[in-house]
Subunit: 121 residues, 2 copies
DNA sequence: AACATTAGTTACTTGAAAGTAAGTATCTCA
DNA sequence: TGAGATACTTACTTTCAAGTAACTAATGTT
């Protein structure tokens, strides 16, 4: 009998995939990294800090991060409006692992770039 | 003076992003997880194990993983052809961190699903 | 002679993520 | 009086990752 890999049956409905898919989009990880460095940050400050994100994608990504409980959104009923975003404990616990990945990428990127260059030839 | 977030200047050329982007695609992580469980695996066995990947995407993803030195491809000059894929040491070192993320996702997915449900209402 | 096997390639299509640009509400300040 | 600030929303367009399906080479098998 062959060894079975149970993990991968019905993988399309896999909840792990559902959760991790959100780490694979273009902006979520970056926003978490930024909010992990500060107490909180307002919308426009985030926009300027990241630089190349559109307002729309900033809004969309912040909403999904909020929906997952990774960041907290606080509205101050002032005019002009003030909205502050901060990372939650859950977000911080994820960020620990993301930072490990970033460290790994920094440690290995030279070797990887070299591998890619070799591979093309 | 405000605190600067150096990490994010010129982020589009950021090598960390270049490396981690490949973790964000649909199949790379899954293939690494499979190859992390066995000594090696042939193309068609991988295809059947994953189930819902197309031949094309399996080829494409294996090629990029190979280009990054995360897996090794060995061709045996037989007919019909035999090609074996195995994870490299570099791939294993990445997999450690990926598995941490998977563990985190498993630990937190219930809470996250609950948060998402609440958020929609 | 035709079918199976293996590990692909090729050409075309689709769909979802992301981008663009303009509009919105409300107040303050010059 | 009209321009600026803030945090968006909306409608439309683009892009590219991924999917589909057919084709390939070389040999062994019936």
């Amino acid at each position: 009998m062959e060894k079975k890999l149970e993990i991968f049956s019905h993988f399309e409905e896999c909840p792990v995939r559902k959760v991790l898919n959100r780490c694979g989009d273009k902006w979520s990880v970056l926003i978490l990294l930024v909010l992990g460095e500060v107490d909180n940050m307002r919308f426009n400050k985030l926009h300027k800090t990241i630089g190349d994100i559109s307002q729309k994608m900033l809004t969309v990504t912040l909403r999904t991060l909020e929906a997952d409980g990774l960041i907290k959104r606080t509205v101050f009923p002032e005019i002009p409006p003030r909205v502050e975003y901060e990372i939650t404990e859950r977000g911080k616990s994820l960020l620990v692992h993301i930072n490990k990945l970033v460290d790994w990428a920094e440690e290995n990127m030279e070797d990887i770039m070299e591998s890619r260059a070799k591979f093309e030839s």
